[in-house]
Amino acid sequence: MSDRENWFIDELERRGVSRREFLGFCTVMTSALALPAALSARVAKAIQGAEKPVLVWLEFQDCCGNTESFLRAARPTVADIVLDTLSVDYHETIMAAAGTQAEEALRTVVGDKKGQYLVVVEGSIPTFESGAYCTIGGRAAIDIAREVCGGAAATIAMGTCAAYGGLPAAAPNPTGALSVRDAVPGIKNLVNLPACPANAENITALLVHYLTFKYWPPLDEFGRPLFAYGQLIHDNCERRAHYDAGQYVEAWGDEGHRTGYCLYKMGCKGPVTFQNCPRVRWNEGTNWPIGCGHPCVGCAEPDFWDKMTPFYNHLQGPPFLGPGYTVDRVGVAATAGIAAAFATHGLISYIKRSREKPEPAPATPQSTDAKKGDAV
């Protein structure tokens, strides 16, 4: 191992992390991403790369929730190191420089590192009033996004606002808010990491994957990595047995609620939401909304503010799925009602596809470049 690589192991040891623990972490990452175990050595080597890749983090019409989520990144010491392997040259919430000096930092990256830097975008991008609904340093968000994302090696749209427009784009979309994909025509190598906010575990896993292989993991048609959004919440829910047994919470605080019965009747959107919350949970695996007695609101799905509301109305509608599709009957009923709202055809095709185990086969950046999230 060269000296330039040794610094990393030295850093680990200074922070009380043994080489062995680090490799263990890489194995966890590899398995979270459903990669062959032999790849973990490659993951480890990539993380130790000497030059830190540059990352710029843009905040537009956001609430900072994804930044906060990022600050909760788990696997305490090691995650810290993973983040340290990036050079975060622009991030308004944490950077020391302000004003002119901050703008200069961004200019330097865009000018000197063209095609070599990563971008994270948090928040939607407004278009009305010549972009005056969001300006930074006097520049419209949409101009900044087009320039910075346009020159990037890859872009992560973090959180549902950046990925799909999110809350600002909810009806009646007063500011003409767009997702990154729609605001930056022709954007290359975009990955959507939705949820409100995106889970720190998935952020970390995605970054490690990209830094290791320099391409994104396989995505679904909404541009989301299958490793985190490939399965329905409902299918991995700890309360699934109660659903199958017809044991439901009927009122807040009732015996069933305290016992942990299914929240379907209280409005749970787990049956139509693709995310790995039940598996990775939140805040280092401490808990998750359903574990805390509240229904899933479907926050990782496009347009959930309009299509999953009212949140406390339970999913309903006639069963409708194509022939040969085997899902338990109640689940079919649950998914079908809202399927119409999502444009039936698209939703069902992606439910079906999610039933097939996604192959971990790497794809080229071009072919993994997600299509616009139109279902129809």
């Binding site: 994804n66 302000a98 004003g99 969001c134 809350l167 909810a170 807040w252 007695g293 509240h294």
Partner: protein, 568 residues
């Protein structure tokens, strides 16, 4: 006269622009502008009021609980739902942990770099740093070896040549006064606080499912079940986890945060003479100690005018108005009018320069924030306001701690009206809340022991139990200050929704009579050694803990329903 523009103001939540005139090394005039806008109230119209908290919560992901709390209180007030004691206690625990975690993150990760020179820390002597640390606290991470490790880690980081978020800053600026050892100690605690915040906020995950954006709130109570006999409810096991985290939170606040604030402040006492601001303070009060709208509050409400600590006025919400003379909105009856939120009109009309622009026309309209006023006066809200009102109202623990801090810094109470006063008040409040949390947890455990398992007022859940026309207000003390939501519900749907938010109070522009907002007023007289590197401006602005996504939220683009709502 030099015109300074700071945009983006970093290490805040949201998008803030400051323009200032500097002459003779001091700020002569200043303008605060918010440059981002979403329109969440309009999006809320016509929706189920029980959903509103999920929407308003997304106003801010930093203070991720506050707009959920204000929203459920407003709707409960409208429909007459009364959350049972367990729900109140769960909420108090969540609100207090939000404030404790948020204040510490603000000090170390958003504000500290205005006072702490990271580059200077590289030349610190670890043994002397250890002596310094041990002279102010018995916190165990204080050995020379420990600080040598932190210094070496920092050195390794700098020597790799990629400074990332620490690049291009004001290091070496003459306004930095801490000796290298104090800088190194602060850097060590910056890193420790990063781990600490991730850990203690697990209280929110236990009681709220996740953080950010907890998901256990309900109109009428909480979704978190409590039952000592159930695995899927809050039980003895999870209560013990919460207690451990509360203890950890208190430990760091008492033994690291407070001593650090005192140590840093002792080198910057001149900042007790800058940043005073408007001198009027508004507090809604927080932490109900009983059920119902008249319950006593642990931190009292009140209004202080003109820095007069001898008199705390009773809060009268009907005195609250908003103006748009310098905001990108228009009013039907003329932009010079002052309207109560119940009569609020919010039609955006952008008249600023077309982006990209270099300068705002500050003589005209220049911000997406409105100008809230109380009895016609600009008001500062936040931890300083809360501590002043509590102090002047005779709150025993606050009085004691304020007295101790003033004595340790050897300054009088007038020092509180300043940039440094805000920093100190935030720290004092954090300790008061960190101490208090355990009591609410004890009360919750006692209720559970009596088998009081209620967490929700089911009687008002179904919209058919609501009046066909109802209005309500929800008040809350967010980490950054007084927050109010006003809702009008008609036939089970939201007819109108209005928020007046802490950062609107503090960061708002001038009003019709040219009274500056609190940020603007606080900047007057601030020294600026080098207009190209205005770190001093950041000190005063950051002392308010800006949260701009919160501040701008109002939109009524299609001239919707004008709210006409009664006060509770």
């Amino acid at each position: 006269m030099t015109h300074i523009v700071v945009d983006p103001v970093t290490r805040i939540e949201g998008h803030l622009r400051i323009e200032a005139e500097v002459d003779g090394g001091k700020v002569q005039d200043a303008w605060s502008s918010s440059t981002m806008f979403r329109g969440i109230e309009l999006i809320l119209q016509g929706r189920d009021p029980r959903d509103a908290w999920v929407f308003t919560q997304r106003i801010c992901g930093v203070c991720t609980t506050v707009h959920a709390i204000a929203s459920i209180r407003a709707v409960e007030n409208a429909i007459g739902a009364v959350p049972p004691p367990n729900a109140r206690l769960l909420r108090n625990l969540i609100i207090a942990m939000q404030a404790v975690q948020d204040h510490v993150v603000h000090f170390y990760h958003l504000h500290a770099l205005d006072w702490v020179d990271i580059v200077s820390a590289l030349s610190a002597n670890p043994a002397r740093t250890s002596s310094l640390a041990e002279s102010i606290s018995d916190w165990p991470l204080s050995s020379a070896k420990y600080f040598a490790g932190v210094r070496d880690r920092l050195k390794g980081f700098v020597e790799r040549g990629q400074l990332g978020p620490f690049a291009n800053a004001y290091w070496g600026h003459p306004a930095y006064k801490l000796p290298p050892e104090a800088n190194l100690m602060a850097v060590a605690h910056y890193l420790e606080a990063l781990d600490w915040q991730r850990e203690v906020i697990k209280v929110h995950a236990i009681l709220g499912g996740k953080n950010p954006h907890l998901q256990s709130f309900l109109v009428g109570g909480m979704a978190t079940p409590v039952d000592p006999d159930k695995q899927s409810s809050l039980n003895a096991d999870t209560l013990a986890s919460v207690r451990a985290l509360i203890t950890k939170a208190h430990d760091f606040v008492a033994r690291v945060y407070i001593p650090d604030v005192l140590a840093v402040a002792s080198f910057y006492k001149d900042w007790a003479g800058y940043g005073a601001g408007v001198g009027n303070y508004l507090v809604y009060g927080e932490y109900p100690e009983d059920e119902g709208p008249t319950a006593p509050l642990f931190l009292p409400p009140g209004v202080i005018r003109g820095r007069d600590l001898t008199k705390v006025e009773r809060l009268d919400p009907s005195q609250i108005t908003e103006m748009v003379s310098h905001s990108w909105y228009e009013y039907d009856g003329g932009d010079g009018k002052a309207l109560h939120p119940f009569q609020g009109e919010t039609r955006p009309k952008y008249t600023g320069p077309k982006p990209p622009y270099d300068r705002l026309d500050t003589a005209a309209k220049y911000s997406w924030l409105k100008s809230p006023r109380y009895a016609g006066l600009p008001m500062e809200v936040g931890p300083l306001s809360r501590m002043l009102v509590a102090y002047a109202s005779g709150h025993a623990r606050v009085k004691e701690l304020v007295g101790t801090v003033l004595q340790k810094l050897n300054v009088g109470p007038e020092a509180l009206f300043s940039t440094l006063g805000r920093v100190a008040a935030r720290a004092i409040e954090t300790l008061v809340l960190a101490e208090k949390q355990g009591e609410w947890l004890d009360q919750l455990a006692a209720n559970m022991a009596r088998h009081d398992l209620r967490t929700h007022d089911n009687a008002k859940w179904d919209p058919s139990s609501w009046p066909s026309d109802a209005t309500g207000a929800g008040f809350h003390e967010a980490p950054r200050g007084a927050l109010g939501h006003w809702v009008h519900i008609r036939n089970g749907a939201i007819a109108n929704y209005q928020c007046i938010v802490p950062s609107t109070w503090n960061a708002g522009p001038r009003d019709a009579s040219s009274q500056r907002g609190p940020y603007e007023e606080a900047l007057i007289g601030t020294p600026v050694a080098d207009p190209a590197k205005p770190v001093e401006i950041l000190r005063t602005i950051h002392s308010f803990d800006p949260c701009l996504a919160c501040g701008v939220h109002v939109l009524d683009a299609r001239k919707q329903e004008v709210a006409r709502v009664r006060l509770p």
